[in-house]
């Protein structure tokens, strides 16, 4: 009788009951082989559990990375809103200041008053504050966006790294499971050959009896 392929599929199909490895095995070699099979089975079970954990870790890292990227996008947007709003407010203040000084300039021109003209041409409150707002717009935008979402992008990078580590763990665990399957296959092949040898011996005894 040939025992074949039990190791490779035992973990999924549960084809071999390894609770009592010594049952039906009389030789020391057979008992050792069953012990190896049971150890490999336990190793595979543990690796399968670790594989599930690694997959969960990968999913979690991916979700964190994507959340961080969305967060960075929002920060960039609100930074642009802050910068644009200040620039609009500054521009509007400058326009209003310019229009507001028009009558004073006209009066000074009509009066030929050089001092009054100089005073009228000086930037007023609105023009000055407008200029200040325009100057502040870019830094405020950077401040609100946390430097274009740099912190969130760094978080996304870190989460991406964790995801990569989880993938490597998954690869390693799959390799471990494959290696364990190979060992189990070799063990069952050895067992099979031992059983065949036993059968041959029995036949030889029967032939001799004849």
């Amino acid at each position: 009788m040939t025992i074949n392929g039990i190791g490779s599929s035992g973990a999924q199909a549960g084809a071999v009951d390894l609770d009592d490895p010594s049952e039906g095995i009389s030789s020391v070699g057979g008992e050792l082989a069953m012990l190896v099979l049971r150890t490999q089975q336990s190793q595979r079970d543990a690796d399968h559990d670790a594989l599930e954990v690694a997959r969960d870790d990968y999913q979690r890292a991916l979700a964190s990375e994507v959340d961080a990227m969305h967060s960075a996008a929002n920060q960039v947007f609100w930074g642009a809103v802050a910068q644009g709003s200040l620039a609009i407010a500054g521009g509007a203040a400058s326009v209003y200041g310019g229009l507001d000084s028009r009558s004073a300039i006209t009066d000074a021109l009509h009066a030929h008053d050089q001092v009054a003209l100089q005073t009228a041409l000086k930037p007023g409150v609105f023009e000055t504050s407008g200029s200040a707002l325009e100057t502040l717009a870019a830094p405020m935008g950077k401040l609100v966006s946390s430097s274009d979402g740099e912190d969130s992008l760094a978080d996304a990078k870190a989460a991406s790294g964790e995801g990569e580590q989880a993938k490597w763990r998954i690869d390693d665990l799959k390799n471990n499971i494959n290696r364990s399957n190979d060992i189990s296959d070799k063990t069952t092949q050895w067992l099979s050959s031992a059983v065949d040898k036993d059968d041959a011996s029995t036949r030889a005894v029967l032939s001799n009896m004849a």
Partner: protein, 269 residues
């Protein structure tokens, strides 16, 4: 795929065969056990095949999502670049030049007053600072230019009356200053508005890239599922072959033993 389909058909036939044969008593216990194992393995293969099929559909859907998200990101980045260029042009070039024109016009209108001269210097320094990179001016040199300009402004004092201009020129200069100032303010408003639009497109692009990353990650997960299902399928096939081999070998061995025993009996007789 043809193998999988035939195996699926095999699963159905094995199921019906198992149902029919399980009631019959003609089969030996080994044969019934063999049929049960084969039926169980075919069921497992059927489930694995369904998983692979569903996973491939999921993979195709995710690939489409990635493609669409990347297209969305590319389009948003295109719009963002356009608005960024407009914003930079309005806020950098137009506003700065308009501001410089307004400052020069103020100098002309006031006949060279210190405040106006300072405004010109400030405006020139502002333009130099904004275009330092394009002009290839190192930051240190740009700072030095600014300091020298400030010093020159301090030394210039009140130059009122340096320029003697007519009232008509003054009037034109005032108008120019007014229009240039308003134009600078309006340009800054436009720059601000386009900057917000650029931010919105940047956000869209970033969100689309995040969606693409999510779909790409889900593709990895689906690939894990496909790997597992294919391994399960392969393991079921191996197991099935192993069971058939075992049964065949067992039958041969039984036949050989029977023949041997019969031969022995006949020899003894």
């Amino acid at each position: 795929m043809s193998t999988i389909t035939s195996q699926s058909t095999g699963a159905q036939s094995a199921s019906s065969a198992w149902s029919a044969e399980s009631s019959a008593t003609a089969l030996t216990p080994e044969e019934r056990l063999l049929a049960l194992v084969v039926y169980s393995q075919l069921n497992q293969m059927d489930a694995a095949k369904t998983t692979v099929s569903l996973s491939f559909d999921e993979l195709a859907r995710l690939r489409q999502e990635v493609k669409e998200a990347v297209d969305r990101a590319r389009e948003a980045q295109h719009h963002s670049g356009l608005l960024g260029a407009i914003s930079s042009f309005l806020g950098g070039d137009v506003a700065a030049v308009a501001g410089a024109i307004a400052a020069v016009a103020a100098v002309v209108a006031t006949g060279g007053a210190a405040a106006a001269v300072l405004a010109v210097i400030a405006s020139a320094a502002s333009i130099a600072a904004q275009h330092a990179k394009e002009l290839g001016i190192p930051p240190g040199v740009a700072v030095a230019i600014g300091i020298v300009a400030a010093g020159a402004a301090l030394c210039s004092g009140n130059a009122s009356g340096l320029l003697h201009v007519s009232d008509a020129v003054k009037s034109v200069a005032c108008d120019v200053k007014l229009v240039a100032g308003i134009a600078a303010g309006a340009a800054n408003c436009g720059a601000g508005a386009t900057s917000i639009g650029k931010g919105a497109y940047d956000k869209d692009a970033q969100n689309a890239l995040a969606d693409a990353r999510f779909s790409s990650g889900q593709q990895d997960v689906t690939n894990f599922d496909i790997d597992d299902a294919i391994k399960s399928l392969s393991a079921s096939l191996d197991q099935q072959h192993a069971v058939f081999d075992a049964y065949t070998q067992g039958s041969k061995s039984d036949q050989a033993s029977c023949s041997l025993v019969l031969n022995n009996f006949s020899g003894a007789a």
